[in-house]
Symmetry: C2
Subunit: 235 residues, 2 copies
DNA sequence: TATTTAAGTGTTCTTTTTACAATTATAAAA
DNA sequence: TTTTATAATTGTAAAAAGAACACTTAAATA
């Protein structure tokens, strides 16, 4: 059923920037491209959109296929349309970003396509315009996380306040006073203190917290302000 | 030169949501679609992407062609990919939004395609998923204008503080105390007071201001916070 | 000259943000 | 058993920002 007969048609891809956190630093998941051009080079998780699926479906399918990952936070970022961005043939790419807890998915990852986690600072060169996509995604999550509690998507079910602070410091590449930080996060009412402690990081141990999911969903759309002095961030 | 031989190919459109301000309320520009399906129905300014152009070029070209408008603020919003969004043939659409001063472009608009301005509250039904696009665009500019001075793109070169306040109140569908509002906007240092007054709106007249363009560009990336009580907005 | 209308402007109180350091729990070492 | 080392936890005071609130002024028109 082709009706707009005279119009050009394009190959449509999706590329996914997967951010992960292991309790220490923010990491990004990369894969070695399995076909030409640039076969074997490091790349984002990408693939072509099929005839019957929308892009959300496509990005979920491709992530599942390449990494085994399923059901994580996934959001459309931007569409990249430079005519020569893929030297083989013009390909439009819509980028998505995902946020996951690295440890939660550790087992699933040991798969056919062996994707690997890279610290943002020690990342290999990427193919095409993928580097640009990563930079835009990083800016987007910084922007969004300054207002919404999305970074909890990167944490396990139970986490400690020092871990949470590590995460924020890692995302914003800054340091935050821990007294003020814990005051702020506790003031949101999003955290429920547990009795158990995490003793892996210190002798004393740090209390675990759960997210109050009801408040989390309720507050997600509210404007928050987690980051002190966003103007003075060390970018 | 077709190399990814087995992949599906799609028609790619861009649709532009053009917001305008006339000193009173926020308006949106619509056009009657010139071809089937839905010929004659109200629609966003849209068109198909051509083989050699990227989407920014396409959206500029289409806006120029349908409205005569050129060189305005234009930003990519989101890509809409539902397989049945266009009943004629599957068409991917990337939405852009534009911000302009209505009066500045008044003359150019009286053209072949006679686009018309509609107040957001008295808007006709739109074709396809264009209504969704408008809603997303509105959310985006509210979001963005709470942090960045983008709304100045909707104002003429010189404007008064009451006009500026009208604009903010119109975008956020709220009311703001005028003492606090003028304190805030003047505190940004973005405004330069002129000697002349605008006497069209009152007997006393209101002083004109210019944007300090240097500070405007410098502060654009900084986080601002113009809107009091963003949590309590009347959406 | 009086009236009308919107523009312009200051202060106080409250809330939020920031700066800053001592104490505590616990494991490991002595 | 005691000491030591390490990270977790907690409070206060000062500064800045935000919110509430009403009168005076300029200028056209009656």
């Amino acid at each position: 059923m082709i009706k707009y007969a005279k119009e050009s048609r394009f190959i449509q891809a999706v590329d996914c920037i997967v951010f992960g956190f292991d309790g220490e630093t923010l990491k990004i998941l990369l894969i070695q491209r399995g076909f030409e051009p640039e076969k074997g080079k490091w790349s984002l998780m990408g693939g072509f959109v099929k005839a019957g699926e929308d892009f959300d479906q496509a990005s979920n399918r491709i992530l599942k296929q390449l990494t085994g990952l399923d059901g994580m936070y996934l959001e459309q970022l931007n569409t990249f349309s430079h005519p020569q961005r893929d030297p083989m043939e013009r390909t439009i790419s819509t980028a998505y970003f995902a946020l996951i807890d690295i440890n939660k998915y550790k087992i699933q990852l040991s798969d056919d396509y062996h994707p690997e986690w890279f610290s943002l600072k020690r990342m290999p060169k990427l193919i095409f315009d993928h580097q640009q996509m990563v930079e835009l995604a990083l800016r987007r999550i910084r922007y969004k996380a300054a207002l919404h509690p999305i970074l909890f998507e990167l944490l396990p079910n139970r986490f400690t306040i020092p871990q949470l602070q590590n995460l924020y410091e890692s995302v914003y590449n800054t340091t935050i006073d821990k007294r003020n930080f814990s005051k702020r996060v506790l003031a949101t009412g999003l955290l429920i203190k547990q009795e158990e402690k995490d003793k892996s990081g210190s002798k004393r141990g740090a209390y675990y917290y759960h997210l109050n999911m009801q408040k989390y969903y309720a507050k997600f759309q509210a404007f928050l302000n987690f980051i002190p002095n966003p103007t003075n961030l060390i970018f």
